[in-house]
């Protein structure tokens, strides 16, 4: 019964979405108020209907209703409740339902909070949002129905992949989807602006918070995914340039670029066409990611069960959405009026440079991801493009980007003073060179890339802090004056400093862990001691233990430096019964200075066990940095200028004055 209700409300949602896509658009063209206002009601009904469908599927999972094929395939009566629930979106059909639900939720948010938007713009935005929803709901209903029944119903489900029974992964897809779908709002705004034929700073004030929110969610989503790969896959790696990882990284890069170009639109009324294009591209890349994962075109460890009918549908959908919107851009964009002019050396110029580098990086990753398909199509050769390509192309683009990151915030709008900035940054340059010098003096055979990476870390952290202290005029007057300036500084300015420092921390984590990682791979017998990264690891043997739905070989290691009391590590090799599968549970001792990472493998038949032990300096900072970046975004989002709903006319004017002040400062 639950499945039938779910099916029914899903059809209801589709019909509503069609109406939401069509009527407000006509209403906006004919200037008909009732038809434009209809968008609000439709957005609400669509949201309620998809919420209903989502609840139905969740009930199916919680009650282990194996007559629903989707539940039978992905759940099991013995599974812990948390994973029964996360199983709802841990599969192809359910994840699409989650996608559509978030899409409807964001549509509703625009309907509710967008009271101050011009009627026609709001109607068009909601209408585009509705049309995207139509595509997804049709895809669900016609090719990936989560409510399909199975007859006869199996006695028990076939279980969720035990690799996926993990808190990190339970929340990885929802965050990623919040990010992907958040970009749909900026996309809808971009299309609405193209139809209207105008972009004003008010438009940018709406686009920026949505981009920020989407970017923040993507950051968290990607970080959770890579953290999961790090501790669950047991390879010690955290990023593999896998097509699916790239699929989430490309929208992130595009969103980062969009975030920065939207500032120029808002403050200087320039770069409008480029910002619109970025908004379209960012969402297109999200859709492309979905396509690559689910169509069967590319093979990946993450790939969902594939079905050619789905591939055809998604490709048609992509052609309509991406092709259509880019065509609209090609026709309408030349008619947009250009905005303020600026010199190459200026805040705008720095943001353009940021955009150029970020979009080139996105393009090279897209090329690397699609290249195997191209090559296969043209020559029939099967290749995989691996980390060497991505590292060789991405890093040379990242280096100038990071150098410019410290420069940019110092430059004034319109026309900046490069010599002045250099003189203000010489302290940062000096300190980072000093840092590099000290490291080189300590260890003369340090790889050059490590010195570059740490130099960039120092440069960016000190540069960002200098800019911040300059803004509040720290030590240039009484501390109380600085305090006052700090509290009056817009939160978006603090946010920028925090987010940039987050980037620096990620660089630190990557550089240090790649350069100074030490490892021991081999067979160890009980009582044996190996020294890795300054720690003595004593292997105390292994035993078989039973878990709720698995058996495991659990090893015991004592890691100590000889000074402090040691820490015990208990890596496991688990064998699950349903479905039969083995997983590696690495034992990780995260510390700020380094992670100790131990994995146990097969017994060699003579009492020894294959073990892998790693000492990874500073690796936790990769995820700490990502979280700091997210915090920076959240701080910026909480800026009252951008806060949703806090934008009545009077306040808007006040904000405009403030942003003018910010522009001067």
């Amino acid at each position: 019964m639950v499945a039938e209700i779910g099916q029914f409300v899903l059809i209801l949602a589709l019909i509503t979405a069609i109406f939401q896509g069509v009527f407000p658009l006509i209403g906006a063209a004919r200037n008909s108020q009732p038809m434009m206002r209809f968008a609000n009601n439709a957005a609400f009904v669509q949201f309620a209907a998809i919420t209903g469908a989502f609840i139905c599927l969740t009930v199916g999972y919680i009650t282990s209703d194996f007559s629903i094929l989707n539940v039978a395939n992905n759940s099991h009566s013995l599974k812990p409740m948390l994973y029964k629930i996360s199983g709802v979106w841990g599969n192809h059909e359910g994840s699409l339902l989650l996608w559509s639900w978030i899409l409807a939720l964001f549509g509703l948010a625009v309907a509710v909070f967008g009271r101050n938007l011009p009627d026609s713009l709001k109607a068009r935005v909601l209408s585009v949002q509705g049309l995207v929803g139509v595509g997804f709901l049709m895809f669900i209903l016609f090719t990936s129905n989560p409510f399909e029944r199975i007859d006869p119903a199996p006695l028990d489900g076939s279980g969720l992949n035990p690799l996926l029974q993990d808190p990190g992964l339970a929340f990885h897809p929802p965050f990623l989807y919040l990010g992907y779908v958040g970009l749909s709002i900026t996309f809808s705004f971009a299309i609405a602006a193209l139809i209207e034929g105008k972009v004003d700073p008010a438009w940018a004030r709406w686009v920026r918070p949505w981009t920020l929110a989407a970017w923040g969610f993507l950051t968290i989503g990607i970080a959770l995914g890579s953290w999961w790969a790090y501790y669950e896959l047991g390879w010690g790696g955290w990023w593999f340039w896998d097509p699916v990882e790239n699929a989430s990284f490309m929208p992130w890069l595009a969103a980062t670029a969009l975030l920065h170009s939207a500032i120029v639109v808002e403050k200087r009324d320039a770069l409008k066409n480029w910002t619109i294009l970025l908004a379209i591209v960012a969402f297109s890349l999200s859709l492309l990611g979905t396509f690559l994962v689910r169509s069967g075109v590319l093979n990946s460890v993450h790939a969902f069960a594939t079905d050619p009918a789905r591939g055809v549908f998604i490709l048609m959908f992509l052609i309509v959405v991406i092709g259509g919107s880019l065509l609209l851009y090609g026709i309408r964009a030349p008619m947009m009026k250009g905005g303020g002019l600026f010199a190459p050396i200026s805040r705008e110029g720095a943001l353009v440079l940021n955009n150029l580098l970020l979009s080139t990086a996105t393009a090279t990753i897209l090329l690397g991801t699609l290249y195997p398909i191209f090559l296969d199509a043209i020559t029939g050769a099967k290749v995989s493009v691996g980390p060497p390509y991505f590292e060789a192309t991405f890093i040379p683009l990242a280096i100038p980007l990071i150098i410019a990151m410290a420069f940019g915030p110092f430059l004034a709008w319109k026309r900046g003073d490069l010599a002045g900035v250099v003189s203000r940054l010489k302290f940062a340059l000096l300190l980072s060179l000093l840092l590099v010098g000290v490291i080189w003096w300590q260890q003369t055979d340090t790889p050059i890339m490590a010195l570059v990476g740490l130099g960039l870390f120092g440069w960016l952290v000190i540069g960002s802090l200098l800019e911040w202290t300059e803004r509040i005029k720290l030590f240039r007057g009484p501390l109380s004056a600085s305090w006052r300036r700090m509290t009056q500084l817009p939160r978006s300015a603090h946010g920028m400093t925090v987010a940039h420092i987050g980037v620096a921390l990620v660089i630190l984590g990557i550089t240090a862990s790649e350069t100074w990682q030490t490892e021991h791979l081999g067979v160890m017998r009980p009582g044996e001691i190996v020294s890795v990264g300054g720690y003595d690891f004593r292997f105390d043997g292994a035993e078989t233990v039973a878990g709720p739905n698995y058996d495991a070989v659990r090893g015991t290691f004592l890691a100590s430096t000889g000074i402090e009391k040691g820490v015990y590590l208990y890596p496991e090799q688990r064998r699950y019964s349903d479905p039969p599968m083995e997983t590696t549970e690495a034992a990780i001792r995260p510390m700020l200075s380094a992670d100790l990472y131990a994995v146990i493998g097969e017994e060699d038949g003579k009492g020894g066990y294959a073990v892998r032990i790693y000492h990874k300096p500073f690796i936790s900072w990769i995820w700490i940095g990502a979280f700091v970046m997210f915090l920076g975004g959240a701080l910026s989002l909480s800026d009252r200028r951008l806060r949703l709903g806090a934008a009545r006319r009077a306040r808007q004017q006040e904000a405009a004055v403030k942003s003018l002040e910010g522009a001067k400062g």
Binding site: N73, P154, S295, V312, I322, Y329, G330, I331, K382
Partner: protein
């Protein structure tokens, strides 16, 4: 209309055409070429209790083209292809051998009792060791084996009647002629 604004859409058209082609003409899950036309790996397995003789490498060289189907009682997708295999057996189109993968003897026997047995021979790969040699990475998978016991092709996922006609039938005809 200025041309440079059309660059994005033209780029996308190029990507879309390539993907369209890839979708219909390329298969990333195709068996790696090194396994094709090689002899099947060496193995010897006990049968599922009560279901025919066991299965070993030399049993695969039967003088005609056969299918080796990897199945398990915990595999829901296997239920999708099972009725079709029963049909193939009833029509005596091709002999099918069953490789029971990471299952329990009891579970496999009950499953075959419930859904019917399309297999001439069965072998139980309880720990999945033989599966590794065959490069199995998902269930179901179906290998097409030549009359002299070599691997001709591998189908990943459930075998549908369409797929049978397009990928397996030509190999059967080729061997028959």
């Amino acid at each position: 209309m200025r041309i440079r604004f059309l660059i994005p859409v033209v780029t996308f058209v190029g990507i879309a055409v390539m993907m369209w082609y890839a979708l219909f003409n390329l298969n990333p899950t195709e068996i790696p070429t090194e396994l094709v036309s090689r002899p099947a790996p060496e193995f010897s397995l006990e049968p599922v209790p009560g279901y025919g003789p066991g299965l070993a490498q030399q049993d695969l060289a039967t003088g005609k083209v056969i299918l080796l189907n990897v199945f398990a009682s915990w595999c829901v997708a296997c239920m999708a292809e099972h009725p079709f295999f029963m049909e193939l057996k009833a029509q005596d189109t091709v002999d099918i051998f069953g490789l029971n993968y990471k299952d329990t003897p009891d579970g496999a026997a009950k499953w075959l009792a419930r859904h019917g047995n399309p297999y001439k021979r069965t072998g139980m790969d309880l720990k999945g060791r033989v599966g590794i040699d065959f490069g199995v990475y998902g269930v179901p998978e179906t290998f097409v084996i030549s009359p002299d016991g070599k691997i001709l092709d591998k189908i990943i996922g459930p075998v549908s009647p369409d797929m049978f006609e397009s990928r397996i039938r030509p190999l059967l005809n080729e061997a028959g002629s």
